[in-house]
C-alpha cells in the first residue's frame, strides 16, 4: 500500500515534468521576441560592438526586445553548445567553429540562409568570397555566414632574434630566404641563447594537432583527402613534414617539448604561429615585434586559415527573426565595423586600406601579405563530419610521436589505422 503510494507520487511527478515540457513547446508566433546568440569571445570591445549593432536592430524592429550575446569559453565551446541544444535550451544564433562546420552544416541543425540574404535590402550576397563560404555550404545552400576568416601568420620577437645574432624574418623575406629551415634555425639559436622557447605553434600544446596544419601544408601534406575519405597521415608529404617537425622539436630544440608552456605575447618565445586576431595582445608589448607570412615549405608559399561561421538554429522559436537579424548583423555596413576584429568575407572590404583603418597595430604590407593574400590562397584547417571523434583518435594515435626516439613513419601509419573506420562513416 505504502509502496504503491510512493510509486503514484513518483509517477505524478514525472507526469508533471512531462506536461511542463509539452507546455514549453507552444510557441508564440507574434509578440515580443528575445534572441540569444552564443559566441566564444568575452572580449569587452567585441561585445560592445555587437551590442551597438543589436541596439540599432532593435530600434528598427520594436518587436525584438532583447538580443543577448552569451559568451561560452572557447575550450569547450562546441561541447557546451551541443549540450544546450540537447537540453532544449539552444540559442537562436550561434558562432560555429570551422572544425565542427561539417557536422553543423550537414546535420540540418541550421536554417539555410540564401533566401533571407537575397531578400535583405542592399545586402549584395554576391560580394561574399567563394573561398570563404565554401566550408559553410552543402548542396549549393549556405548554412552559416563566415563572419571571420582569419589567416595564420608568424609573430616574431625581433629583439630576441637579434640578441641571438639572427637575421629577422623581414630581412630573410627581403632576401627571398624565408624558409622553414631558416625559421627553425633562427628559433633554435634564439632558444639556445635566451633559455626561453624558440617557436611555439600556439594552441597545439601536443594536443590540438590540427594547428600543425600551419606547418605541414608547406609540405603539401593534408590530414585527409578533399573528399574526406582517404587518410593523409601515412603519405609521403606528411611523413616528410612530421619528420622535419620531430627533428625541430627533439634534435634542434627549436620548439619547446611536450609539457612545457610558453606564451609569445608574454615574451616567453621568439616566434609563434597564430591567427592575426591575436595582434591585439601586443598593444602593450615591451619588445620589438613583427608579423610575417608563414615560411615557405618544400612546396613553396602557402597559407592556412581558421574560420568561424554564424548560423541560425532551426530549433529556435523565432528562427525567422533570428535569420533576419543575421542579415542585419552582417550587412555591408556592419560587416565593415566587424572587420575591426574579424576579417570579413566580403571581397569589396578585403583591401589593405579598409583593414588598416580598423587594425592600427598592423602595417598595410602586413595586412596585404598575411591577411588578404592569405584569405584568397588559404587552406582551411582540417575539418570533417564527426570531427570530435576523429580529432580525439588522431590525438591519441599521435601521442607516441612526441618522444625523442619515435618512429615517425610507424606512428603516422597508426594514425591512419585509428581514423580510417571513422573517415569511412
Amino acid at each position: 500500500m505504502k509502496i504503491r503510494g510512493l510509486i503514484a507520487t513518483a509517477a505524478a511527478g514525472a507526469l508533471a515534468l512531462g506536461l511542463a515540457a509539452c507546455g514549453a513547446e507552444e510557441e508564440p508566433s507574434t509578440g515580443p521576441v528575445s534572441l540569444r546568440m552564443t559566441v566564444w569571445s568575452s572580449n569587452e570591445a567585441h561585445l560592445k560592438l555587437f551590442n551597438e549593432i543589436a541596439d540599432a536592430y532593435k530600434a528598427k524592429n520594436p518587436r525584438v526586445t532583447e538580443v543577448k550575446f552569451d559568451p561560452i569559453p572557447f575550450e569547450n565551446y562546441t561541447t557546451t553548445l551541443t549540450t544546450q541544444i540537447a537540453g532544449g535550451n539552444g540559442p537562436d544564433l550561434a558562432w560555429v567553429l570551422e572544425n565542427s562546420a561539417p557536422d553543423f552544416v550537414s546535420s540540418g541543425a541550421l536554417v539555410p540562409l540564401d533566401d533571407t540574404l537575397a531578400k535583405a535590402d542592399g545586402y549584395n550576397a554576391a560580394d561574399l568570397n567563394p573561398a570563404a563560404t565554401k566550408l559553410w555550404q552543402t548542396d549549393g545552400r549556405l548554412y552559416a555566414y563566415p563572419f571571420s576568416t582569419s589567416p595564420f601568420g608568424m609573430f616574431v620577437n625581433n629583439d630576441m632574434l637579434k640578441a641571438a645574432g639572427q637575421q629577422t624574418p623581414a630581412e630573410l623575406i627581403a632576401a627571398g630566404q624565408w624558409t622553414w629551415d631558416k625559421a627553425v634555425a633562427a628559433a633554435a639559436a634564439s632558444a639556445a641563447k635566451s633559455g626561453k622557447a624558440g617557436l611555439v605553434v600556439r594552441d597545439f600544446d601536443y594536443k590540438g594537432w590540427d594547428n600543425l596544419s600551419t606547418v605541414w601544408t608547406g609540405w603539401g601534406a593534408q590530414a585527409w583527402s578533399a573528399d574526406g575519405k582517404t587518410c593523409g597521415f601515412d603519405q609521403q608529404p606528411m611523413v616528410d613534414a612530421m619528420t622535419f617537425l620531430h627533428k625541430a622539436i627533439f634534435t634542434d630544440k627549436a620548439l619547446p617539448g611536450p609539457g612545457t608552456t610558453a606564451d609569445f605575447f608574454a615574451g616567453d618565445s621568439a616566434m609563434t604561429i597564430t591567427q592575426i586576431s591575436r595582434a591585439s595582445l601586443l598593444k602593450d608589448a615591451k619588445f620589438g615585434w613583427d608579423l610575417v607570412p608563414l615560411p615557405t615549405g618544400p612546396k613553396g608559399e602557402y597559407s592556412v586559415i581558421g574560420q568561424a561561421g554564424l548560423g541560425v538554429l532551426k530549433k529556435g522559436k523565432n528562427a525567422d527573426v533570428a535569420a533576419d537579424f543575421l542579415a542585419f548583423f552582417t550587412s555591408p555596413e556592419n560587416s565593415a565595423k566587424l572587420a575591426a576584429y574579424f576579417p570579413p568575407p566580403r571581397t569589396s572590404q578585403l583591401t589593405a586600406e579598409t583593414l588598416a583603418k580598423t587594425n592600427p597595430l598592423l602595417k598595410p604590407e602586413q595586412l596585404q601579405q598575411v591577411v588578404i593574400d592569405g584569405i584568397s590562397t588559404g587552406v582551411v584547417k582540417p575539418s570533417h563530419s564527426g570531427q570530435a571523434e576523429i580529432s580525439q583518435a588522431v590525438r591519441a594515435a599521435l601521442d607516441p610521436l612526441w618522444k625523442a626516439d619515435a618512429d615517425v613513419k610507424a606512428v603516422l601509419g597508426g594514425v591512419c589505422q585509428a581514423i580510417n573506420p571513422l573517415l569511412a562513416k
Binding site: L6, T9, A10, G13, A14, L17, T79, T82, T83, I85, A86, D103, F104, S107, G108, A109, Y206, K207, G257, P258, G259, T260, T261, K314, K315, G386, A388, E389, Q392, R395, A396, A397, D399, P400, W402, K403
Partner: protein
C-alpha cells in the same frame, strides 16, 4: 454514515509523509527520474544536431560488446581504482595511526593532511598540472636530489601514477579522519590487557586495532572504490585521457562519447554499465562485511 477523514492514524501518516517529502521529492526528481531517463536514452540513437531520437532497442548494448575502446577504458579504470584504493587506504590508516599518538604537533599535522579535502577540486588539479610539467615544481624538487624526473603527464605509466597520487593527496585526509575517529573509539583497556599478555605492538595492531575499526575500513573502502569509479575532473584537467588512451577511464570515456562525440544514446549505455559496476561492487563489499567486519553479527 460518513466518518471523519482526518482520523488520528491518517494525520500521523500525513505528517510522516510531509517529514520525508523533502528528501523523497529530491530523490525522485534528481535521482530516480534521471536514472530512468538514462535507461530510456540507452535504448535510443539520439542525434542532437539533426534533432532525431530513434528507438534502436538493444543496439547500443550490442555496440558496447563490440566496442574495441571499451576494454582499454575498463583496464584504465581498473588500474586507477586499484591504485587509488590501495594507496589511499593504506596511507590514510598509516597517517591515522601516527597522528593518534599523544605527541606535540599532532593537531597541526591533522589539519595539514585534512586541508586538501576542502580545497576546490579543479583548482587543486590545475595547480598540480603546473607542478607536474616537465619543467615544473615536482621535477625541480627531484632535481635538488640529483634525480632527473620524468615528463609525468606525457608518459603512459607516469601519467596514471600522477593522476592517482594527485587524487590520493587530495582525499586521503577524509579517510584519515574517519580512521582517527575509529581508532579513538577502541577502548584502551584492550591494549592494556594485551600488553600484560605480552603481545607486541604489531600483534596488538593486527588482533585488536584492525578488528575494532573494521566497520570503518568497510565504510572507507566502499566510499573510496565508488569515488574512484567516478573520477572525472582530474582526468579532464590533467591528461584529457592521454597519452594515447592510457588515462581514459570509464567516466571520461562516457563524457567523450556523449558530450564530445554527440553519441548521447551510447553515452547513456555506458552510464548504465557504470551504474551496474558500482552496484555490483557495493553489493559484494556489503556481503563481505559478515566475513571481516567484527561488530556485525
Amino acid at each position: 454514515m460518513s466518518t471523519r477523514f482526518w482520523t488520528g492514524s491518517r494525520r500521523d501518516a500525513a505528517a510522516g509523509y510531509l517529514f520525508i517529502a523533502p528528501q523523497l521529492i529530491g530523490s525522485v526528481l534528481f535521482v530516480f527520474v534521471p536514472l530512468g531517463l538514462v535507461f530510456w536514452y540507452s535504448l535510443h540513437e539520439w542525434n542532437v544536431l539533426a534533432d532525431t531520437f530513434t528507438f534502436t532497442g538493444a543496439e547500443n548494448y550490442q555496440a558496447l560488446l563490440d566496442d574495441p575502446k571499451l576494454a582499454d577504458a575498463l583496464v584504465a579504470t581498473g588500474f586507477f581504482s586499484a591504485g587509488l584504493v590501495v594507496l589511499n587506504l593504506s596511507l590514510a590508516l598509516l597517517l591515522a595511526v601516527l597522528l593518534n599518538q599523544r605527541l606535540r604537533g599532532t593537531v597541526f599535522f591533522r589539519t595539514v593532511f585534512f586541508s586538501p579535502v576542502v580545497v576546490s577540486l579543479v583548482a587543486w588539479t590545475i595547480v598540480w598540472g603546473f607542478l607536474l610539467q616537465d619543467n615544473g615544481g615536482v621535477n625541480g624538487l627531484l632535481d635538488l636530489f640529483g634525480v632527473d624526473g620524468p615528463n609525468w603527464l606525457r608518459g603512459e605509466t607516469t601519467a596514471m601514477i600522477a593522476v592517482i597520487v594527485v587524487q590520493v593527496v587530495k582525499n586521503v585526509g577524509l579517510n584519515m579522519v574517519l580512521f582517527l575517529a575509529a581508532l579513538q573509539g577502541v577502548p584502551g583497556n584492550l591494549y592494556e590487557a594485551a600488553t600484560v599478555d605480552g603481545a607486541s605492538r604489531t600483534r596488538q595492531f593486527r588482533s585488536i586495532t584492525v578488528p575494532m575499526i573494521s566497520p570503518t575500513i568497510l565504510l572507507t573502502s566502499i566510499i573510496t572504490v565508488v569515488g574512484s569509479l567516478q573520477v572525472f575532473a582530474q582526468i579532464a584537467v590533467l591528461t584529457q585521457g592521454g597519452p594515447g588512451t592510457s588515462t581514459t577511464v570509464l567516466v571520461y570515456y562516457l563524457y567523450q562519447q556523449a558530450f564530445q562525440f554527440h553519441h548521447f544514446g551510447y553515452g547513456a549505455t555506458l552510464s548504465v554499465l557504470l551504474f551496474a559496476i558500482v552496484l555490483l561492487l557495493t553489493l559484494v563489499q556489503w556481503r563481505m562485511r559478515r566475513k571481516w567486519v567484527f561488530h556485525e553479527s
